[in-house]
């Protein structure tokens, strides 16, 4: 508690407490970051009416909500910072200096550390949220992108778009313990709910590499084929998986579709047309809705996951990048 008092002024603490109380009921918001106008647009999830747009530092991209839903972290690449938005007040509460051009990031399960990829420098920055300072910089391949901390808090996975590898970093020693070759321009990652598989989207390769987390070996590769779309336009980036591990949704970038993967059947069961250059993707809490950002048509598509149809499409700033739902 002392530490908290040191970090935040008492006024801030009150609002923080309020925020955490509120968030138990969830804010009911959808947040969309947009790269070119430095905004996080807030929608009311049920109606998809716009609530407000929060001005952030330059070039907001990846976002992540704290577990209690009180804080929204936003990586702002051109400001070399991660903005922290207070969900209760919808204001930027502070800005964490994180090193050059932060791209994606993840929080440790205990939320004590933040790991961010610094796209320009080929580094992963380790930041202590308790001590409010940078504790380490880890050299990885150029243009690191996806960052993912394992649920047991032992490993950090980082993709390097240039090295075409996933680096496996030991949380304790900060050493690279493995470099796994994947496809061309690996972007994002997800861990299956049982943590046994790591999925990696290869944007230029047009595939998903599926790695076994016990042996660090590729076990399968997922590829896509759409009628009327050239193979070279298929550029998978964003991924999300249902909590039961039965279904995955993958945005296909320039192919303008989302692929729906039935994991048990091991096949793509549908492709949903969403908008131009689909990247960001997320599910709401009960997994009835899927949200997709379309960077080149400046909108957000809302999909009914039962019918696998787009039910709404709303403008969402200039070059919308990431989407987070808190419902």
């Amino acid at each position: 508690m002392n530490k908290l008092f040191k970090t935040f002024k008492s006024v801030a603490l009150v609002s923080l407490l309020l925020a955490s109380q509120q968030s138990q009921a969830k804010s009911g918001y959808v947040f969309v970051s947009s790269e070119k106008d430095d905004l996080v647009t807030v929608f009311e999830a049920k109606s998809m009416d716009k609530v407000t747009a929060i001005k952030t530092s330059e070039r907001p991209r990846a976002m992540k909500l704290s577990k209690d839903g009180s804080l929204l972290y936003v990586a702002c690449g051109d400001a070399d910072a991660i903005d922290v938005i207070d969900v209760a007040t919808l204001k930027v509460q502070k800005s964490i200096e994180i090193g050059e051009d932060p791209d994606r990031f993840d929080l440790s399960p205990d939320e004590k550390y933040l790991y961010a990829s610094n796209e320009d420098d080929g580094l992963v920055t380790v930041y202590s949220l308790e001590e409010n300072r940078k504790v380490a910089e880890i050299e990885v391949g150029e243009e690191p992108e996806g960052v993912l901390v394992s649920a047991d808090n032992r490993l950090v996975y980082v993709t390097s778009e240039v090295a075409n590898m996933v680096h496996v970093i030991d949380v304790q020693s900060h050493e690279l313990i493995e470099n796994i070759v994947v496809g061309n321009r690996p972007r994002r990652m997800l861990l299956t709910p049982d943590q046994k598989q790591l999925w990696v989207s290869n944007e230029v390769g047009g595939t998903i590499s599926i790695l076994d987390t016990a042996f660090y070996q590729p076990v399968a590769e997922l590829s896509f084929s759409l009628r009327g779309v050239r193979a070279e336009s298929i550029s998978p980036v964003g991924m999300v998986m249902t909590k039961d591990g039965q279904r995955a949704y993958i945005t296909l970038g320039g192919a303008n579709h989302v692929a729906v993967v039935d994991i048990a059947a091991n096949k793509v069961i549908d492709y949903i047309l969403v908008g131009k250059r689909a990247w960001g993707v997320t599910l709401n809490h009960d997994e009835s809705r899927l949200y997709v950002t379309n960077g080149k048509s400046d909108d957000l598509a809302v999909i009914d996951t039962e019918r696998l149809k787009v039910i709404k499409s709303v403008p969402a700033g200039r070059v919308p990048h990431d989407v987070v739902v808190d419902d």
Binding site: E119, D120, G141, E142, E143, S160, E161, V162, A163, N164, M165, L176, E178, N179, V181, G183, N184, R185, V204, G205, G206, A214, F215, Q217, R230, E232, G254
Partner: protein, 422 residues
């Protein structure tokens, strides 16, 4: 599989304690062990030779300082070094580290001798930053050897046609790919009536032929071909005065055919009619541009600029990408090859249809099996902006849209026999 790898790794650790002498004897084992990052200090060196022509007119200081569009703005060693650094993880996985070794000839005729001496020392990867006639000479000298040559700068179509060679890979696009790019754009904009200014030099005659081929392919009307000369001689005013060259005809655009850029640089805003200038100045087809904002290009440009203290050109991109080709092939190599990387084993992989490479300009890149030309998108550029990227939407190819640029499988005069080693 798990037990196997784990036990091997256990052996690795024990062997370290036994000392290095033993390791050198156990060569096959060594190759396996090198895949482990802990062996970073024991990597064997793989030389990459960059071959330059000392008297290359496009590298005269006054020329590079002028920063003509789609011309080199400096030598290419920085780009090679940058790519070597970026490829360190891939190289390390195969137990090696790349090293750049620069070589220079004063006369192009010295190239065969240099190539033979490099072969004798075992250098297998040669990057050729040479004019087209130099590329031809170097390639001939290396025709039947275990080497891979990368053409970084030679644009002549005939290197991809009658002078093609199984171990010669073209990173730079052919002239025809560049003229096809411009023709696509002009058709797309409906600027079909083209006045052509051209020179009588051999290089520009070839450039002109290329443009004529593109015009025919895409349906441009070359309303007049006007030869120009550099100079101020009033007796030659109909060849050296831009106003007189451009006053008479009706045209939508002026296309300047100039492989050096020296004449072209003066043409925009100097023609009589208010029309765009394209070709070697104004709007220029180029295979890289520092202002491209997508596909991770800004990061590549930033890294290059930091190192080179200047912006990156298409020629730099060629050099950067050539190293990437080697590195990608190493990643694709089955693990059993680790530690024994040869040009031949990599060449088969590089030339396979399954080869995919990221060049930071979109599309997975690979080589056309019929002439070893790298498939790639081409930019339409102004001085400080990328205006478009070909293939332009709507120009389709039955198999791969990138193959609408340059000579297609059934058009070329080169038929490389796939699968046969050089």
């Amino acid at each position: 599989m798990f037990c196997f790898t784990q036990s091997l790794r256990f052996v690795n650790v024990r062997l370290i304690n036994l000392g290095l002498i033993y390791l050198r004897i156990a060569a096959p084992l060594l190759a396996l062990m090198l895949s482990s990052p802990m062996w970073a200090n024991d990597l064997s060196t793989l030389n990459i030779a960059l071959i330059e022509y000392a008297n290359d007119p496009s590298y005269r200081e006054e020329v590079t300082d002028a920063r003509y569009q789609a011309q080199p703005w400096g030598r290419l060693d920085t780009a090679v070094e940058l790519a070597i650094k970026e490829s360190r993880f891939a190289a390390q996985k195969s137990g090696i580290k790349f090293e750049l070794v620069k070589h220079e000839v004063d006369e192009l005729a010295q190239l065969p001798e240099l190539i033979l001496s490099l072969q004798a020392e075992g250098t297998q990867f040669l990057l050729l930053d040479l004019p087209s006639e130099g590329v031809k000479l170097a390639a001939q000298a290396a025709k039947y050897s275990n080497t891979v040559l990368f053409n970084l700068s030679g644009l002549d179509n005939n290197l991809r046609d009658e002078n093609c060679q199984a171990n010669l890979l073209h990173i730079a696009p052919s002239r025809r790919m560049l003229t096809d790019t411009m023709a696509q754009y002009l058709i797309f904009k409906k600027w079909k009536e083209v006045l052509v200014l051209h020179n009588e030099t051999v290089a520009d005659q070839r450039y002109l032929e290329s443009l004529q081929g593109s015009a025919k392919k895409f349906g441009l009307d070359l309303v007049a071909l006007k030869p120009y000369t550099l100079g101020n001689d009033p007796r030659q005013r109909y060849q050296n005065n831009i106003s007189l060259l451009t006053a008479k005809d009706d045209y939508d655009v002026v296309y300047v055919v100039d492989s050096t850029g020296e004449f072209a640089v003066d043409v925009p805003y100097a023609i009589v009619k208010p029309r765009p200038v394209v070709g070697a100045s104004g709007l220029v087809a180029d295979w890289w541009h520092w202002a491209w904002e997508r596909n991770g290009a800004p990061q590549v440009n930033k890294r290059f600029k930091k190192k080179a203290k200047r912006q990156m050109t298409g020629y730099d991109w060629s050099a950067w990408l050539a190293v990437k080709v080697i590195a990608q092939a190493m990643l694709d190599l089955p693990e059993s090859h680790n530690g024994s990387v040869t040009a031949e084993s990599l060449l088969d992989l590089i030339r396979s249809e399954g080869f995919k490479l990221d060049g930071a300009k979109g599309y997975p890149l690979n080589f056309r099996p019929w002439n070893n030309q790298l498939r790639q998108p081409i930019f339409l550029t102004s001085l400080n902006r990328v205006i478009g990227r070909a293939p332009i939407d709507g120009f389709l190819h039955p198999v791969n849209n990138l193959d609408v640029l340059g000579s297609d499988q059934d058009e070329g005069r080169c038929k490389l026999n796939r699968g046969v080693s050089p």
